[in-house]
Chain length 321, copies 2
């Protein structure tokens, strides 16, 4: 079976598995499915959930699309080729409770063809990143550990590399390089090689994709019933504003989709349900909000470089609950 | 006095005049002033208002900035030159009441210099556009009439041209070319000529700038006390989402500012205070919300091409109040 067929099978299976697990965790809401066709070729399955016990808005989308390489793509993506194919799974989940982080993941495969139909180029990309509104050190550490394990099983050089990629990618450059969250892993333009054949990259996407269940959902279960105040919800909505800014101003995937006649509703499913944009909002001095903002400005090595003093300081502060 | 000095005087005077008029209309809130310097040259005065009786969030900003032409600017703006100068006034006002439209205006002047300091190129730009959430035909017509008068006093060819520019500019291309509002006027890259010298363009910016007082504030006064429901507020927040999408994905001014180390808080003052992003939100059939959405998809010639039938249909529908 060609690798693209295997990747398509993977994303559809992953979509079903993850949607079931999210529904179980929520206990009230169910995913709604929209299947759509792209006029220029291909289509997708959009699954969205909302107004749940736990999840205020979320989506798990797959798409399998193809077409001619347009001038727009040549300019925007700096690619050469005659036709192209792309498939991927993409998800963003926005919980109601500000103590539960937002999460995003995306795994994709891209092929470019010559005029005679032969493959000119092909690459894998993907990643998962976490966007908490309050800092629970153990949550962030466990999240990173889960993806470090996926990486280490494949190549021990990868976690530090993909972790840094992630910190460098999900950045609001227009806000002093503030990150949108606490990172995770991110990789792109990974081509098959004799050491790492296409099947290896497929398995890596599969491992990372399935790791979501153990990396994210246990955090949700642990925090979803914590009581929260109006001002904590306010802070979540302010931070969601930064999520919007990143996705609409910087995210290559979003902009590529919007500028190539992608299905807008599926692409913008990633935007949070309720958002606030205040002029020059500043968290209070020495507050938990200020503390996590510091972390967004200065990414940490969550697994092994946090000092005891920092851990203790955080542990004392996260006493809201 | 060089034209750039005159333009600077105009924008500062306009900023004060308009802020005073807005405060008077609000009756509760006052503008807060932030003066800022741009490390690479120049600075600005940001005036913001919020949590008023009438205005939920708004800003009237001026800036006078200059610097070297960077590679980034050459690429993004397709300009050639050694150094540049820009000054302008820019405003977005988001009212609380969904029956009061959001308004935006911007008037600016740009100079490019050769290496020896001589002027290589210079142009004027600007415009004003209205974004209502509910359609009151007379409000939109009067708004357009005010700017048509400014145009006609200058050149009777301009209103149709600048009206079309506006309809063509404030467009969410990724949403079937839905406009963000009901338009107004927009012009850019207008250079002085023997027929229309720089002083004429200065006067045009001044006339259009001052027209705000008679074009917008009377609408606010007429609608600000209308009672509204939660679902009408909900619709306003959905439409504000489209405002965010336009400003962050398409607006050249916003993207130029964010990508050239502009002052982020001043640039993003334009974003609405509270916003909703629902998946695939659709207004109810034959509702007032659907009616105005139709207008956003199919811009009208407000002054002379509305049929009696359309006017009657709208008049019957805007019976919410």
């Amino acid at each position: 079976m060609p690798i693209k067929e295997k990747f398509i099978t993977l994303i559809h299976s992953l979509q079903n598995t993850i949607c079931q697990a999210i529904e179980k965790c929520d206990g009230k809401a169910f995913f709604k499915t929209d299947e759509w066709n792209r006029p220029e070729g291909g289509g997708g399955i959009t699954k969205v959930i909302g107004e749940g016990n736990v999840f205020e808005k979320g989506g798990v989308n797959t798409s399998v699309v193809y077409g001619d390489v347009t001038d727009n793509m040549r300019k925007q993506l700096k690619i050469e080729g005659h036709t192209w194919f792309a498939c991927g799974i993409s998800s963003v989940i926005h919980p109601l409770n500000p103590f539960v982080p937002t999460v995003h993941f995306n795994y994709r495969y891209f092929e470019l063809y010559n005029e005679d139909g032969s493959i000119a180029d092909a690459w894998f990309g993907g990643g998962t990143d976490l966007t908490p509104y309050y800092l629970f050190y153990e949550d962030v550490k466990n999240f990173h550990l889960a993806y470090k394990k996926c990486c280490d099983d494949f190549d021990t050089d990868f976690y530090p590399l993909f972790k840094k990629n992630c910190d460098d990618y999900f950045v609001n450059k227009h806000r002093n390089n503030e990150r949108r969250g606490v990172g995770g892993i991110f990789y792109d333009y990974q081509r098959a090689s004799p050491e790492k054949v296409a099947g290896d990259w497929l398995k890596f996407a599969s491992d990372c994709g399935h790791a979501f269940l153990n990396a994210y959902l246990p955090i949700v279960d642990k925090r979803k019933n914590l009581p929260f105040t109006e001002s904590q919800k306010y802070w979540q909505e302010i931070r969601r504003g930064r999520y919007v800014e990143f996705n609409l101003v910087h995210d290559r995937g979003t902009l590529f989709g919007l500028h190539t006649n992608g299905r807008t509703e599926s692409i913008l499913m990633s935007l949070p349900p309720t958002v606030r944009f205040d002029y020059d909002y500043q968290p209070k001095k020495n507050s938990e909000e200020e503390e996590i903002q510091e972390v967004f400005l200065n990414p940490k090595n969550w697994i092994d470089e946090i000092s005891k003093e920092e851990k203790n300081a955080w542990a004392q502060k996260t006493n809201t609950c």
